[in-house]
């Protein structure tokens, strides 16, 4: 190792190490051992702040000499020989209690890290001593973004110090430590928006104002919190060894082609049975089925379990029932995608139908276009519940097949509305698992549309025209269209549009022509002049104004005024009700206010009054 004479500072790695030790080991007595101490930037702070005897270990004689001149014990250690290193440490400690251990910016320089960490874990166990480690984060965005474009710049020190032999990421570090018997209890990472790898400063991958950087950042930030982490500074306690380290990748082992995620609330056992039958009859059986039982009561849970138990053995072995007792209807999708093990994941709700080649066609398409979102043809059909004299509850088709969904995916059309029922799609699991493109649980409807748009922007979409599924529309039965209000659908639409506008949008080849022609057509329709093109701010303002008017009309309506005594009583009880500052409220606030208003006791009473009296119109009379 070379000599690194970096000084202690409260916001650099040394300051963070001491802060962790102070926070979690204050009061512990004994010696502190610092492995790979170099010039021991923390030695004085260990002595003065933690009141511990400091013992440093390093291979560099010059560093040890500097340490000695400052009055600290320093021992020569060769970390490439772990057995000898253990002897040196034990001799240096000489029966003293070890209060704490540090290994700062050292593990990246040695090839014996796993063995050394195991040895330290064994040593620490008998003392109950924690370890604080620091390693550079090779997944810092400055390194990753440049590497994605073929740039890898070694330097004399820093993130890509030319002497590094093992590179760490957050996940990789945890795996190495778990295998060595260390369990993380605290973290105080060093963050740097611009690392020492932030060069050349105007490289489009790293320059903060570039479109490319914006796109990469939007993707990277979704993955984890370490895009700007320069050094991973963690505190660990010794314990049992687990996992396989950072070299094994069990996630690459053989997995089924498709994971099918089926949400059920146990209310449609007959259609769930249909779903299971459609799956067990598939021409390609290379799939697993994750049934997500959402908020099942005990009776419904038993019914779902019975339906699964009834399937034949080969099918049953591929089904997992995962119970979820919290969240809205979107939450089970995240649970299902998280549990999925297939290369692709498809949503098959408990009331849809798939044809015999549903899996087969997805697989064919995945072979041709690996990694793309897969989309197969779909038709809709109207169904009703039915129960005949001698039958149990069932369903009956009452409409023809409606080819209402386009056979190929059009990204621009999908920005307007969703034209792809979930059952027609299969998503590469990696987009969820590795890019962390997850379902937005703040959405109560259209969660699938939002997820599709965000995944399609990254993965692209490959379409097969073959019809492989039937989207069931329900007549005289409950569906998401009957359960959720128009306001809810609209506010979810706007939430999605707002989200789309907040991120760069990646479109597939050919989109430039589509956009050029759409804009030209728009201009031509507006008398051939160059009008102000649609803009998110203008759209948002229109939406907000419409909502302000709705709320105002509601608050001015006769029905609302008639219920003012209720609000007067509420005010006396400490819940004052003032006319809102609608002009100052933005989209989400207006949506929330309207939701509260529509759910209020006053509104419910006013609504009833309207029902009772045709002479009390609740619709507004403008002031």
């Amino acid at each position: 190792m070379s000599l690194y004479q970096n000084p202690y500072h409260h916001d650099n790695v040394y300051g963070h190490v001491i802060a962790l030790l102070k926070q979690h080991t204050a009061g512990a007595s004994g010696v502190h051992i610092d492995i790979g101490c170099n010039v021991a930037a923390i030695a004085e702070h260990v002595r003065d702040d933690l009141h511990r005897e400091y013992i440093g270990f390093d291979i560099d004689g010059e560093a040890l000499s500097i340490l000695s001149k400052r009055g600290f014990a320093g021992h020569h250690i060769d970390l490439s020989d772990v057995a000898s290193a253990k002897t040196v440490i034990e001799a240096a400690v000489y029966g003293s209690k070890i209060a704490s251990i540090t290994i700062i910016d050292t593990l990246e320089h040695i090839t014996t890290g796993p063995q050394l960490l195991s040895m330290l874990s064994e040593l620490a166990k008998s003392h109950g001593a924690p370890l604080v480690s620091s390693v550079p984060n090779v997944a810092h965005r400055d390194v990753g973004f440049k590497l994605a474009l073929g740039k890898w710049d070694y330097t004399t020190a820093g993130l890509l110090d030319h002497t590094h032999v093992h590179l760490f990421t957050d996940t990789g570090l945890r795996k190495v430590m778990r295998l060595a018997g260390w369990h993380q209890i605290a973290a105080y990472d060093v963050l740097l928006a611009k690392s020492d790898q932030h060069f050349p400063p105007h490289h489009p991958a790293v320059a903060s104002a570039s479109a490319l950087h914006g796109l990469l950042t939007s993707l990277r930030d979704a993955v984890d919190d370490h895009a700007q982490t320069n050094q991973l500074v963690r505190m660990w306690l010794p314990g049992p060894s687990s996992g396989e380290g950072d070299i094994a990748h069990p996630e690459c082992d053989k997995s089924p082609f498709l994971s099918v995620v089926t949400r059920t609330q146990g209310r449609r056992i007959d259609t769930l049975r249909d779903v299971l039958l459609c799956l067990s009859a598939q021409t390609d059986q290379d799939f697993e089925l994750c049934i997500i039982g959402h908020k099942l009561n005990s009776e419904d849970r038993l019914a779902v379990e019975r339906i699964i138990e009834n399937t034949h053995l080969e099918m049953r072995e591929r089904i997992r029932l995962i119970k979820v007792d919290s969240g809205n209807r979107t939450h089970p999708l995240n649970v299902g995608f998280r549990e999925a093990r297939g290369e692709y994941v498809a949503i098959l709700d408990d009331d849809d139908i798939v044809l015999g080649h549903w899996v087969e066609e997805f697989k064919k398409l995945a072979t041709k276009t690996p990694g793309a979102v897969l989309r197969a043809g779909n038709v809709a059909q109207l169904w009703r519940p039915v129960k005949t004299a001698y039958g149990t509850q069932s369903v009956r088709a009452v409409g023809s097949m409606d080819a209402c969904f386009p056979l190929t995916f059009d990204h621009l059309n999908h920005l307007v509305e969703n034209a792809s029922p979930p059952v027609s799609l299969a998503f590469p699991r990696s987009a969820y698992a590795d890019l962390c493109i997850v379902f937005d649980e703040t959405l109560t409807t259209t969660e699938d549309w939002d997820f599709l748009l965000r995944t399609a922007a990254v993965c692209g979409v490959a379409s097969a025209k073959e019809i492989t599924s039937i989207y069931r529309r329900w007549d005289q039965a409950e569906s998401s269209y009957t359960v959720h209000s128009q306001e809810e659908w609209l506010s979810n639409h706007h939430a999605i549009w707002r989200k789309l506008d907040s991120l760069p949008l990646l479109l597939g080849p050919g989109s430039a022509t589509r956009i050029r022609q759409l804009v030209a057509d728009y201009n031509a329709r507006h008398f051939g002049t160059h009008q102000v093109l649609p803009h998110p701010d203008i759209e948002a303002e229109r939406y907000e104004n419409a909502m302000r008017e709705d709320i105002h009309n509601l608050l001015q309506s006769r029905g609302w005024r008639f219920t003012s005594p209720i609000r007067f009583v509420a005010a006396l009880l400490g819940r004052p009700n003032k006319y809102p500052m609608l002009w100052a409220m933005r989209g989400v606030e207006l949506e929330q206010y309207k939701k509260i208003l529509l759910g209020s006791f006053s509104y419910r009473v006013a609504k009833k009054l309207r029902r009772f009296s045709a002479h009390l119109p609740i619709k507004a009379t403008k002031a």
């Binding site: 007959d270 049975r273 249909d274 299971l276 039958l277 459609c278 067990s280 009859a281 021409t283 009776e299 009834n310 399937t311 034949h312 053995l313 080969e314 139908i353 798939v354 044809l355 015999g356 080649h357 043809g377 038709v379 039915v386 129960k387 005949t388 004299a389 001698y390 039958g391 149990t392 509850q393 069932s394 369903v395 009956r396 088709a397 009452v398 409409g399 023809s400 097949m401 409606d402 080819a403 056979l407 025209k465 019809i467 039937i470």
Partner: protein, 314 residues
């Protein structure tokens, strides 16, 4: 607590299926479904035993002896699995009649059959399909019970309360053995592939039996859709349907329909329709037309191209 519907009991069930060039893998998948449905039905007391018999019209045998042994070993819920290689393409009606004759032989040898489940070899039963198919036989007048097909449900209408329907498709239908005997099986002289089931249903109804559609008995019949969501029959399916349509109209005393169809078919630009018309005329010359029945139109119901009212178009 949800109310439990009592299980009906129908005794010994024999499953008949006629093969013609089917993929072995798909047949084995079908058998896995059958075995599970039989297991549950026997466990629930809905049936006493289930026997499976294949008749093979394929040019070469679909199963080897080892295949049959393997199927028997892997299907413990099936009391017996039998296989007859016909060595000629008998079609649907004649194939099933041959299997019925074999069932009679077995009866003489002491194997009782109370009901026969006639099904296509590519139909997969839902686990509870047998239990559900058995229920309507609580009514002593029930002669045939038909299952609901997935993924494309048959569009023919049925009574939402009673389940009564004009005719039952034998893609998957449970039939009382005594009814099969009484009607002397299927009219194999008139029908090769299609309408043997319509004819059988109508004759059953003429004899006072009810034909019941049971929506809760789900089965998967692997059908596909065209790009606009339409069901697209093959050219041979269209030919045999056209040929059967003429014979159905004649047999059920609707010479007006025969005339209209012949005229349409003969002048059509579609060769399969021309061929169907020629076949009918030749049959007439040879004196091989069926005996005309139901002159009063008691059960026969011709609705456009269909044999009952349809709920929707396919």
């Amino acid at each position: 607590m949800k109310k439990k519907i009592p299980i009906n009991k129908v005794g010994h069930v024999r499953i008949h299926s006629v093969l013609y060039g089917n993929e072995l893998d798909r047949i084995l998948t079908t058998i896995r479904h059958l075995n599970r449905a039989a297991d549950l039905a026997i466990g629930a007391g809905a049936v006493a035993s289930v026997t499976l018999v294949y008749g093979d019209s394929s040019p070469t045998p679909t199963f080897s002896k080892d295949d049959i042994e393997s199927i028997r070993a892997q299907s413990p819920a099936l009391a017996c699995v039998d296989y007859l290689f016909f060595d000629s393409n008998l079609g649907s009606a004649k194939g099933h009649n041959a299997l019925l004759a074999y069932a009679d032989e077995m009866t003489e040898a002491g194997t009782v059959t109370d009901h026969v489940l006639i099904m296509n070899p590519d139909v997969m039963l839902a686990p509870d399909a047998l239990i559900e198919l058995v229920r309507p036989f609580q009514d002593p007048l029930t002669g045939i019970v038909e299952a609901r097909q997935l993924p494309i449900e048959h569009p023919k209408d049925y009574d939402k309360s009673t389940g009564e329907t004009g005719w039952a498709t034998t893609a998957c239908a449970l039939i009382r053995m005594d009814v099969l005997h009484k009607l002397s099986g299927f009219d194999s002289e008139s029908f090769f592939l299609y309408c043997d089931d319509v004819d059988f249903s109508w004759r059953a109804r003429l004899n006072g039996y009810k034909v019941i559609y049971q929506p809760s008995a789900a089965v998967f019949h692997d059908k596909r859709l065209g790009p606009q969501g339409q069901w697209a029959p093959t050219s041979s399916e269209r030919y045999y349907s056209a040929e059967a349509a003429l014979l159905m109209a004649y047999k059920y005393s609707r010479l007006d329909i025969v005339e209209r169809l012949l005229k349409t078919f003969a002048t059509s630009t579609e060769s399969h329709l021309n061929k169907a018309a020629e076949s009918y005329i030749q049959r007439k010359k040879d004196g091989r037309l069926p005996e005309a029945i139901d002159a009063a139109g008691k059960v026969a119901h011709f609705e456009g191209d269909f044999y009952t009212k349809h709920r929707f178009g396919l």
